[in-house]
């Protein structure tokens, strides 16, 4: 099972995502932003970081990277795609997911261990969880406030497309405490917190994040 991890100029958590894929039991494959090539991977992770320096708008330039043409096409074909943090921003900019991510309401970068509730355990990236599971994974962002119009928010909630919500304090002003969402088909997931930083007890607040990466393996087996 091959999971591609895209490196854009300014990607930072690509090595971490690769490690998470490995620990979940799959083979990580490095993908380069400038290539029109997904190298026969079965799923793709768009990692965190500051692609293209977050210039213009987070994710706005990455959307036009050659590799994204292939990612968008594959996603439309049903390939599982997970965007974490900057990856989530890129998915929104690419219109694979609705809404947008704006500057945190308190205007500061925030890094902390965040409690989340998994609301939708039926996506390609969350099937290892049960709906209602509470997990702790690191959160770190400067522009993590999820926003969308009321209609879209109602739609997301009505269709069960909110994948995860923030518990305790909302860390960034996200509307309706939304930490992650999915597309209608459930193969594309965008998540602001970082499950790849919670895959081993040694270097994070536990292993609660590993489920995102094991989920995609079982999704691919099916």
């Amino acid at each position: 099972m091959k999971v591609g991890v895209v490196t854009f100029p300014g990607s930072l958590d690509d090595v971490d995502a690769q490690r998470a894929v490995r620990l979940a039991g799959a083979e990580p494959v490095a993908l380069w932003h400038g290539d029109h090539d997904l190298r026969s991977v079965d799923a793709v992770v768009l990692p965190g970081g500051f692609s293209y320096g977050d210039y213009l708008r987070c994710g706005a330039i990455a959307r036009f990277a050659p590799v994204m043409t292939e990612v968008v096409a594959a996603a439309h074909g049903g390939m599982p795609v997970l965007g974490i943090c900057n990856g989530f921003q890129i998915l929104c900019e690419s219109h694979l997911l609705p809404g947008a991510l704006i500057r945190n309401d308190h205007r500061k970068f925030v890094c902390r261990d965040q409690r989340l509730r998994i609301d939708n355990a039926a996506t390609a990236w969350t099937s290892s969880y049960e709906a209602g599971d509470e997990i702790v994974v690191p959160l770190k962002n400067g522009e993590g406030g999820f926003v969308a119009d009321e209609f879209t928010l109602d739609l997301l909630e009505g269709e069960g497309r909110v994948v995860a919500r923030y518990l305790d304090d909302n860390p960034n002003g996200s509307l309706r405490d939304i930490a992650g969402i999915t597309n209608e088909r459930g193969n594309v997931v965008g998540l602001m917190p970082h499950p790849e930083h919670a895959v081993e007890d040694l270097c994070g607040p536990g292993t609660d994040g590993l489920g995102f990466f094991t989920s995609v393996l079982s999704a691919l087996v099916k």
């Binding site: 100029p9 490690r19 040694l202």
Partner: protein
């Protein structure tokens, strides 16, 4: 400086001041004083060159001979670090003082490089960019050694938390450190935040970076091999930071003076991230013969240092340098401190590959010159020579000052003014209140308002980060080899006795590495002081360096690099002498690191080391009495070494469930922090524990060489026996558990109350 000629208009940009022109116009008046040079220094330049310098040469000498670059006031004292054996407990250092950063062997074929630097003055002028580019500069130093930067730490110091100017500088500095480091993908794993009124107007922004490399990847800054190409790559050169080193870092601030903002550089962390990845790929491709980062003094520094450290000369065509602003003069290009630039020496046969890799990372690279055998650094501007100097005279033969130093006349009175006469809390209620007051004071309070703005997780190798005693980074996923790093300094102790204060800074840092399970290997220091022109400050500096050197000799660890920052003072008032000491240790198996928080109910609580009546300079004396006087705690380096050696063995054997060094605020604060960490309290008693002379003293003394440790009851005997074999005294004081910190017969404080008081202080002033 009354004999300095008034600054006449410098040679007009459109009339080039060539070497030929300089030769022909010996009497041309030059603005050397405005550039920060003294009359005798200017005379020396003329003597070296046998003529007056050209404008471009003057620019180069002025920045390279500035205090910041030449260490002219500190060199005579720093020399003694070179007398230490360049050896760590694991063997010879791979690169030491004089390189961009020291490199030490940590085993398994890995080497580690680390260094701390200051960016104090720019951060006062422009907090965000000053702090950001401080991080950027130290990261490039580490990169230039051939290492992948893997972590940063930032010791910060501000004026009082509630001072209006602190509200101006602190949010900007913290955002700048975070904004740059986060964007580079470097975890920020520790540092310090200290508030003291002497830092008002003189905030200290020190930045430490750790890098990892394989032994064979070591690179150095030298240009040799005639015909090798000199490549400038990274960002374009602009007008930012011109004169930064000479104007900013080497003068005190004058409230009436003109705004100096244009002298502060502006950082672009995205470009730096590309520069890191690009440079590491260049190293992997083995196409780099020599490399130097461009930091303070920009091209002046890089060209002269590379050439000076090489075996020949260098010829540079300055007009080939890619510019952001096409109107820049040769002088300005040479002095610009535009960030995110590197200079490499490349053999012609590797040039194409070099350029390919730069293109892959969208990094602009330009051949700007080549290595020659002339022994001269020659710089041309559109075919005319504007610089022709012996490179060593610029880079290494700067002036050296034997600044006068003298023990200040107030030192005796300061030391005589001890805490003996200050009222001490006696009742349980008073002790309870005192503990909460000290715990919630700005210096002891929770710093997560600051550290939560830093990414501590990126790269996935962060084993420990703040508020743990030391930052611990895994460097090998398979073997679990890692390093532990801590930075510390108690400037109050250094004020009372700079010799002992510097030793205590080293001791604390060393201890923090040890209690985390790391074997201390090497030291980097950032020596922040007031004006070297004040004999009292110079005395503090001399004493601090002597103390540090002597202590390193006893502990058997070398100083591998560091930085000096002078002129941190406002008017006559200098900052507390602040020799920040970073210690790096190796952790053979990071899974065995020891954390500071109490873990479970029923563990035995122990104090290691000897507690004395040492309250002078303590956190208590500051919080309860706003007092600073007396003498700092006794330095016992043999005891520090025994403690660290013991803890390394304890970690290996897995005998401790938690460990926390005792320092600021003493046992009281350590107990509170260890309780807060995981919400597990403890019940302790001092009677019959050898600490019963005085509960206050047991709780608030800041005696050094001590640690708080918990062990499982079943391990107590083994632990005690091991400690005895290392000669470390062990005092059993109680048991972990419950939801309160209780001192028998005195007071009990719910852990939630401890946490509430501890976390409230900084957000109350800075906002949530």
């Amino acid at each position: 400086m009354t004999d300095a000629p008034a600054a006449t208009a410098p040679p007009a940009k459109f009339r080039l001041d060539t070497v030929e022109h300089a030769d022909a116009t010996p009497d041309h008046e030059q603005p050397w004083a405005d550039l920060g040079l003294k009359a005798d220094e200017y005379a020396r330049i003329r003597e070296i060159l046998g003529r007056r310098p050209t404008g471009a040469e003057l620019a180069m000498y002025s920045v390279m001979w500035s205090e910041h670059c030449s260490y002219k006031s500190s060199k005579v004292h720093l020399k003694k670090f070179g007398e230490l054996p360049q050896e760590t407990p694991l063997g010879k250092t791979l690169a030491g003082i004089g390189e961009n950063a020291g490199v030490i062997d940590v085993g398994q074929g890995y080497a580690v490089t680390f260094k701390v630097e200051s960016h104090n003055h720019p951060s006062y002028v422009e907090p965000y960019q000053g702090a950001a580019t401080g991080v950027g500069g130290i990261v490039r130093d580490i990169l230039a050694m051939g290492a992948r930067p893997v972590a940063v730490m930032d010791p910060l110091r501000f004026g009082p938390l509630d001072a209006p100017d602190t509200k101006r500088v602190m949010p900007g500095i913290v955002a700048g450190v975070g904004g740059y480091g986060n964007c580079l993908g470097l975890p920020n794993i520790g540092g310090e935040v200290v508030f003291d009124e002497t830092y008002l107007g003189n905030p200290l922004v020190n930045a430490l970076c750790v890098g990892v490399l394989r032994h064979e990847q070591l690179h150095t800054a030298h240009a040799s091999g005639e015909g090798n190409q000199v490549v400038l790559y990274g960002a374009r050169t602009g007008g930012d930071g011109i004169g930064g080193v000479s104007v900013l870092a080497s003068e005190t601030f004058d409230a009436e003076g003109p705004a100096k903002r244009p002298s502060v550089q502006v950082g672009d962390p995205f470009m730096e991230k590309l520069l890191i990845e690009c440079t590491l790929e260049l190293f992997d491709a083995e196409v780099v013969a020599g490399i130097q980062d461009l930091g303070g003094a920009g091209l002046s520094c890089a060209t002269s240092e590379l050439a000076s450290a090489g075996d020949g000369g260098m010829h540079v065509e300055l007009d080939t340098v890619p510019l952001r602003d096409s109107t820049l003069s040769p002088e300005e290009i040479l002095m610009s401190e535009s960030q995110e630039r590197m200079m490499a020496v490349v053999e012609p046969r590797h040039l194409d590959r070099f350029m390919e890799i730069c293109a892959k990372w969208d990094v602009e690279a330009t051949v700007v010159g080549e290595v020659t055998e002339t022994g001269r650094l020659v710089i041309d501007w559109h075919g005319e020579t504007v610089v022709d100097v012996p490179p060593r005279s610029v880079a290494h033969d700067g002036p050296t000052y034997e600044r006068p130093y003298a023990r200040p006349d107030w030192q005796d009175a300061l030391q005589a003014d001890t805490t003996a006469s200050l009222a001490r809390p006696a009742s349980g209620d008073e002790l309870r209140t005192t503990l909460l007051d000290v715990l919630s004071s700005p210096n002891q309070a929770d710093k997560s308002w600051i550290t939560d703005q830093y990414d501590r997780y990126v790269r996935g190798n962060t084993v420990l980060a703040q508020p743990e005693d030391a930052g611990v980074i895994r460097i090998d996923d398979d073997t679990n080899l890692g390093v532990a790093v801590s930075t510390d300094c108690n400037g109050r102790f250094a004020k009372l006795d700079p010799y002992a204060g510097a030793q205590l800074a080293l001791a604390e840092s060393y201890r923090n590495v040890g209690v985390s399970g790391g074997l201390p290997l090497a030291v980097t220091d950032c020596l922040n002081f007031g004006s070297p022109e004040d004999p009292a400050v110079m005395w503090q500096f001399e004493r601090a360096t002597a103390g540090l050197k002597d202590a390193c000799a006893v502990l058997g660890i070398p100083v591998t690099g560091g930085n000096v920052s002078f002129y941190n003072q406002t008017g006559e008032t200098a900052i507390l002498p602040t020799p920040v000491v970073g210690v790096l240790g190796v952790v053979e198996d990071v899974t065995k690191r020891i954390k500071q928080g109490f873990r479970a109910d029923g563990d035995v609580v122990l104090v290691l080391g000897t507690t004395r009546d040492e309250l002078d300079g303590s956190a208590w004396s500051q919080v309860a009495h706003q007092h600073l006087g007396g003498v700092p705690p006794q330095v016992d380096l043999a005891a520090e070494k025994a403690l660290a050696d013991l803890m390394v063995e304890v970690a290996k054997q897995g005998l401790a469930t938690a460990a926390h060094d005792l320092s600021d605020g003493g046992l009281a604060i350590a107990l509170a922090e260890a309780s807060i960490r995981n919400g597990v309290g403890a019940r302790v008693a001092f009677e019959g524990a050898g600490l019963d002379r005085n509960v206050f003293e047991a709780l608030f003394s800041e005696s050094a060489a001590r640690a708080l440790v918990t062990v499982a009851a079943s391990d107590l005997q083994g632990f005690t026996a091991l400690a005895a074999s290392y000669g470390v005294p062990v005092t059993r004081i109680g048991t972990t558990g419950g939801d309160a910190l209780a001192v028998e017969g005195q007071f009990s404080i719910p852990v939630t109350e401890l946490r509430d008081r501890w976390t409230a202080t900084i957000p109350a002033v800075m906002g949530a």
